[in-house]
């Protein structure tokens, strides 16, 4: 075989690989949507789950997922914003910064089950939060922090240095320059990263099974006092999320229609993640256009 034939063969193989990967994704999505979407109905999305009989829904789990996501973002965004600002604006190139970067790298590569177990040990047992939304949100925060911090740092770094010089030349302090000049320009990138992070948090389960718990007690959706135990807003109640629910009914297998429910729930989960992805792109572009007046 001469070099030209080899070249043609290799090109063919590469095309095949590319097509195979597209097919894998297409069949994954196709399987989930074809199996799952027929089960998705308004009733399925709003009614509570049933443990031993068929016909249960995912209403409470769906609410829990969004509520937990909201809380986790509320805690992790300010912290990672501060951390990102430190790394992009204040950090000097020295040993301390090296240690900080290594710590963030390690945190981002930790298996999520280890993060979950740490949350179980510290928040659930030591702090006596029990299996609760608060414990879950804190565990998700730890899982979310390193990626969000890195995203914010990168977005801030992409802002032209001349912008900072302009701010400083106008007599602003460095902090004011960051807040009023750098962050607004970096905002599209930050928002995109936040929404993508939200999608990842939404599907996370391993960090939650021992922090937010695996049970979803009945909620009273007319009771909005966060101190009542049946209130949806109570942060000290156990809260099984959608992803945990899929895992649990599949590994326990006591629900007669477990396959159907998990297919439906998987479809909802995937659609939510897709929505996050589309939203991230759309909002990022929109904001970019708005802020750069293009």
């Amino acid at each position: 075989m001469n070099a030209k034939q080899k070249d043609r063969l290799a090109t063919g193989v590469l095309y095949t690989i590319a097509v195979l990967i597209v097919l894998i994704l297409a069949s994954l999505l196709g399987y989930i949507l074809v199996q799952g979407l027929p089960h998705v109905s308004w009733h399925f999305l709003t009614s509570p789950a049933k443990a031993f009989e068929a016909g249960g829904g995912i209403g409470i789990q769906l609410f829990n997922s969004f509520y937990l996501l909201l809380l986790a973002m509320l805690i992790s965004v300010p912290i990672s914003l501060g951390a990102g600002i430190y790394l992009a604006e204040y950090a000097k190139a020295n040993r301390l910064t090296d240690i900080i970067r290594t710590a963030i790298e390690i945190l981002s590569s930790l298996p999520s089950v280890v993060v979950g177990l740490f949350g179980f040990l510290v928040f659930v047992l030591q702090f006596h939060f029990g299996f609760s939304i608060l414990s879950g949100a804190l565990a998700l925060t730890m899982f979310n922090l390193p990626l969000l911090t890195r995203n914010i740092e990168d977005s801030l770094r992409q802002v032209d240095f001349a912008q900072r010089e302009a701010g400083l030349a106008l007599g602003l302090s460095r902090w004011e320059t960051v807040i009023h000049v750098v962050i607004p320009e970096a905002l599209p990138g930050i928002i995109t990263g936040m929404i993508l992070g939200a999608g990842r948090v939404f599907g996370e389960a391993a960090a939650l099974i021992y922090t937010a718990g695996q049970s979803a007690p009945a909620l009273d959706f007319t009771d909005w006092n966060p101190l009542n135990i049946a209130s949806p807003l109570n942060i000290f109640r156990p809260a099984e999320t959608l992803a945990v629910h899929i895992w649990k009914i599949n590994s326990e297998g006591i629900q007669p229609d477990a396959a159907a429910v998990s297919a439906g729930a998987s479809a909802v989960l995937i659609l939510a993640v897709l929505l996050f992805n589309v939203l991230a792109r759309f909002l990022g572009q929109r904001l970019y256009k708005k802020m750069t007046a293009e």
Binding site: I17, Y86, I106, F118, Y210, A243
Partner: protein
């Protein structure tokens, strides 16, 4: 003192604001560092209890293959041999990396060298979507498609390392691919031009110049993928069969460090040997993820020196 002098000597509002801002950001970053330190401290303090409080021999923990912490053996020693889980974890990790690497590198070459246009329009979103699919969904598909398929073709229960490998292959594929794409894109254009000018075909250029120059980056991607596979819990737990036995073959039920942890930690009493032994597994998991990190750094340094 006249007011002008007083105003000059006092710290300005801006300076105060600056200091406060710097403190806030320093506080945030310290919080992250403290969290990392706390994770290591707490997991280590529980994980080491097996060896210090329960006097389990470290070597027998790593090399024995009987895992039933609740029952003592004939000599009254606890039976905590983690070898089945260690073999299971490394098994699925290496096999999935071996399967995923050719696909990932092939896809990355396609995206950067063969057809950047189609790569950007079709493959890039495909890879991003694959990253976004939650791991429980992969587990569910593994459970309802891959496991029955293996049962049909090879017999047995279908649960086992092979099923775990299939699921992890799809999960780490996007990680390895996108990092390989970055590595290939970082190869300077004139490398390719030089090779083509010498009369090399496109494949010769790719295989002898581009891939070689991008090797450290590709290896980093593969190790990243392996780290992800090693730490993946629920998807693997759903398809591996969860039997703490040394696997005889690829289709007999097995277990990994993560699968034993997720199914066991809620059923044991805090402070008991069974519980401590599980925390030791968590510590092992933590140390392995640290080891993967070190390997990635080492590759990075090696790659730098070559240039």
């Amino acid at each position: 003192m006249d007011p002008i002098k007083a105003a000059m000597l006092k710290r300005s509002r801006s300076a105060k604001l600056e200091q406060r801002g710097k403190l806030i950001s320093l506080f945030c970053i310290s919080l992250i560092v403290i969290v990392v330190a706390a994770i290591f401290f707490f997991v280590a303090s529980r994980g080491l209890a097996t060896f210090f409080d329960n006097k389990v021999n470290l070597w027998s923990f790593l090399s024995k293959s009987v895992w039933s912490p609740a029952v003592n053996d004939a000599h009254g020693n606890p039976q905590v041999g983690a070898l089945p889980m260690i073999v299971g974890s490394f098994g699925v990790t290496f096999l999935s990396a071996v399967v995923a690497t050719p696909f990932a590198v092939g896809a990355a070459i396609f995206m950067t060298e063969i057809s950047p246009k189609m790569g950007k329009k079709i493959l890039q979103p495909v890879i991003e979507l694959l990253v976004g699919i939650p791991s429980v969904v992969y587990g569910f598909i593994g459970l309802s498609v891959v496991v029955p398929a293996i049962r049909h073709v090879f017999g047995g229960t279908g649960f086992g390392i092979l099923a775990g490998t299939f699921v992890l292959f799809v999960m780490i594929l996007p990680t390895v691919t996108s990092m390989t794409v970055d590595a290939l894109n970082a190869v300077p254009r004139y490398y390719r031009e030089a090779s083509l000018a010498l009369g090399g075909t496109r494949w010769q250029t790719i295989s002898r110049v581009v891939l070689r120059a991008a090797m450290p980056g590709i290896l980093t991607g593969v190790v990243f993928g392996m780290a992800r596979a090693f730490g993946e819990a629920l998807a693997v737990q759903m398809v591996i069969g969860n039997a703490a036995l040394l696997p005889h073959n690829l289709i007999s039920p097995a277990s990994t460090l993560t699968s034993v942890l997720t199914s066991g930690i809620g059923n044991t009493v805090m402070g008991s040997l069974e519980n401590n032994a599980l925390w030791s597994l968590a510590l092992l998991l933590l140390l392995m993820s640290l080891a993967f990190n070190l390997v990635i750094r080492w590759i990075g340094k090696k790659g730098e020196m070559k240039r």
